[in-house]
């Protein structure tokens, strides 16, 4: 079966006046129809650049795709003619941006912007298109859609604007939607509404959804598979439960351990005030053990040391090694490939797990350094 979207070894460079920045250094991921892939990463991890390269909206110059393939239903988007690609981009794949206010045309009523999609791509008459636009606004649960179709983007609240963005993306019932931080700019109660809407539409239309975010929480609720990016590369991919239960990369584990949780005040990893190399730590504790040690009042959070590297000067070997508690000599010298995390070592249910860590086995087993 061909996958809906299959990105293979994608590479993107940015030419800056201080040198060439390798923003994406060989990323592979895929998503099937009706599934959600979450791409998790911090700013500068290359997660958004990857999405732009897939959509063909990379700013170039300075950006440039230097390698890899982007297969959409088995056909490489990167080698296709510009015209063909534009047609696919309009009708079969769509993108939702973080900042809906700047993604919508400020001088056109939202109803007209939605109707335009139908007029241009479906050749509908103005009247039909407007009717469809109102239906669509209704579908994304904009109250009094009929009256509000004549309003301009700035007259809507942030959450409502994001719904309109979703409506725009949904208009032509695409097979794939890429959502780049769709809820980051929204308040938490509105965030929940928008994520629910996205998940519901995905189910209903059996679309593939690529959800790009930096928020571990948002991802946990909606994703099927998660790809974690760091410094322009994928460091781990796993089904959502496996990733949270038993991360196979020290970066993932560091992220998970460093976020405080609303249902638990305390620090997880170093709640006795010791770093991970505390000699008293029992070796080989599994995920359950790790979790049970939460909740010490007033403990410090676990913190990953250092800051994410600049794409202009990536560390040698594994890009995470300067910040990694597990780093050895080999990590400095040799870039880890994406190891297949085998079923024997992982939970039986998990298939297709990968980790770019020389010591993924130790990490998976929760071995301490």
């Amino acid at each position: 079966m061909t996958r809906l979207l299959d990105v293979q070894d994608l590479r993107v460079e940015f030419r800056t006046r201080d040198g060439i920045a390798e923003a994406v250094g060989g990323v592979s991921y895929g998503v099937d129809a009706g599934r959600t892939l979450a791409v998790l990463g911090e700013s500068g991890s290359g997660k958004s650049v990857t999405a732009q390269a897939i959509m063909g909206i990379l700013d170039s110059p300075p950006g440039r795709v230097t390698g890899g393939r982007v297969l959409f239903r088995g056909r490489d988007l990167l080698t296709m003619s510009a015209r063909e690609r534009r047609r696919i981009r309009g009708a079969a794949m769509a993108m939702i941006f973080q900042d809906a206010l700047s993604a919508l045309n400020p001088v056109l009523p939202v109803g007209a912007q939605l109707a335009e999609m139908y007029q241009v791509h479906r050749g509908m008459s103005g009247k039909d298109a407007r009717r469809r636009a109102v239906e669509l606004m209704d579908r994304v649960r904009i109250p009094a859609a009929g009256q509000r179709a004549g309003d301009y983007p700035h007259q809507f609240s942030g959450g409502m604007r994001q719904r309109i963005m979703i409506a725009m993306a949904m208009a032509l019932e695409p097979d794939l939607i890429i959502a780049d931080e769709p809820t980051t700019a929204l308040d938490v109660t509105v965030q929940a509404q928008v994520m629910d809407l996205l998940a519901e539409l995905r189910r209903e239309y059996a679309m593939g959804l690529v959800l790009i975010t930096h928020d571990l929480g948002v991802v946990a609720d909606v994703a099927d598979t998660i790809a974690v990016m760091y410094a322009g590369r994928i460091v781990e991919t796993a089904p959502v439960r496996d990733l949270y239960r038993r991360p196979a990369h020290p970066y993932t584990r560091g992220l998970l351990d460093s976020v405080p949780r609303v249902n638990d005040r305390g620090a997880r990893r170093n709640d006795r005030g010791a770093r991970r190399n505390d000699p008293g730590e029992p070796a080989g504790r599994g995920d359950r053990a790790r979790r049970n040690r939460r909740g010490h009042h007033g403990g410090r959070l676990y913190a990953i040391k250092g800051a994410p590297p600049s794409p202009l000067a990536l560390p040698s070997g594994c890009p995470f090694h300067p910040r990694c508690p597990r780093a050895q000599e080999i990590c400095r010298g040799e870039r880890p490939p994406l190891y297949e995390v085998t079923a024997a070592a992982a939970s039986p249910a998990s298939g297709g797990r990968t980790s770019a860590c020389h010591f993924w086995k130790d990490e998976l087993d929760g071995l301490d350094v």
Binding site: F14, T184, T213, K305, G306, A313
Partner: protein, 341 residues
């Protein structure tokens, strides 16, 4: 201090500034706008971070906006060229004797309108004066008017505009209205009216007139710039510390608000020189015996058919000077424009 902070959290990020390899000190090419995911409002990741050039804790002191700008300017051929031209003009404005040994007032009517001759490469004017010497001496008036008028307008405009922007309120409203009134005066008409009552032929009435009409432009820029900078958190931080208005203005607002003023002033300098020549051409600016390109152009204009050299040299010098200043302004704007960094 015993054990300043406990070791449970990590400070390695901070203590080893070069660990991430560093970035280009915030001067990267503007990246795609959509790249800015993650938490709101944040520049490209590689625009920040410890400097690549800073090899470790003992790194050289960093560059600020000015040294960054200077670093850019030195590599900009437009800047280098225009700066050389301007330097040359300033030198001959101060010491015209260096390259012109003759007397700009000395005329030999027998040679009136004669073409180039040995030792007189530009020929002679209507009164038999050496055009080369007069062109060289004419730089002084143009440069003096340009620089003094710009300094005056920039000083007046940025002080008034800056205060209006900082304090706001009625002072701001009043000043804006006054500036509007001055904006409304057509510059040539104003020049003809104001300057025709002045009998002195020196540069000062012209400088005064240009300052009078030029400050509102600068004050608008300065006001806008101050209003923007005033809202920045570091200004709020200074106020929260209890800093006085004077301190806030001088230490925090002025250094951050001055760049647009400099850019506009540098470009305005070229236009002020052209304005002086225009006014002199019309007979209300500088007046003989002051030597000025405008005056020479004016007297040469009727003779353009039989003695074009009389017009071409002063006019060429004027164009070159104006061009040099405008190019300099462009280069400075490119180096200082915050949108490009």
């Amino acid at each position: 201090m015993p054990e300043p902070f406990d070791t449970r959290y990590d400070t390695t990020e901070a203590l080893a500034p070069a660990d991430s390899g560093g970035g280009p000190l915030g001067r990267a090419t503007p990246g795609p706008p959509i790249l800015e995911g993650g938490p709101r409002r944040r520049p490209l990741p590689w625009r920040t971070g410890p400097g690549r050039r800073s090899g470790g804790p003992a790194a050289p002191p960093g560059r600020g906006l000015w040294s960054d700008a200077w670093h850019d300017l030195r590599r900009n051929p437009v800047f280098v060229l225009s700066a050389l031209v301007i330097l040359f003009l300033v030198v001959i404005a101060i010491w015209p004797q260096l390259i012109a040994s003759g007397n700009p007032y000395h005329g030999d009517l027998a040679k009136a309108q004669d073409g180039p001759a040995p030792g007189h490469p530009f020929g002679y004017d209507l009164q038999g004066r050496d055009v080369y010497t007069r062109t060289v001496y004419g730089a002084r008036a143009s440069i003096t008017v340009g620089i003094c008028a710009t300094l005056g307008a920039a000083l007046l405009g940025s002080v008034l505009g800056g205060l209006a922007g900082y304090f706001g309120g009625w002072w701001d409203a009043l000043l804006s209205r006054i500036a509007d009134v001055f904006f409304g005066i057509p510059i040539l008409l104003g020049g003809l009216v104001f300057l025709s009552v002045v009998t002195s032929g020196s540069v000062w009435p012209v400088v005064g007139f240009i300052v009078l009409l030029g400050w509102p432009q600068i004050s608008r820029i300065a006001r806008g710039s101050v209003v923007t900078v005033k809202e920045h958190d570091y200004v709020q931080a200074a106020r929260a510390l209890g800093a006085s208005s004077g301190r806030t203005l001088l230490r925090h607002i002025a250094p951050n608000a001055v760049a647009p003023v400099i850019v506009v002033a540098t470009i305005a300098l070229g236009t002020y020189i052209a304005l002086e020549a225009t006014l002199s051409f019309l007979g209300v600016g500088l007046k003989p015996p002051t030597v000025s390109w405008g005056i020479d152009i004016s007297s040469a204009a009727p003779q353009i058919r039989n003695a074009p050299h009389m017009l071409l040299w002063p006019a060429g010098a004027l164009s070159l000077t104006v061009l040099a200043f405008i190019m300099l302004g462009d280069a400075v704007r490119d180096a200082l424009d915050p949108k490009l960094r």
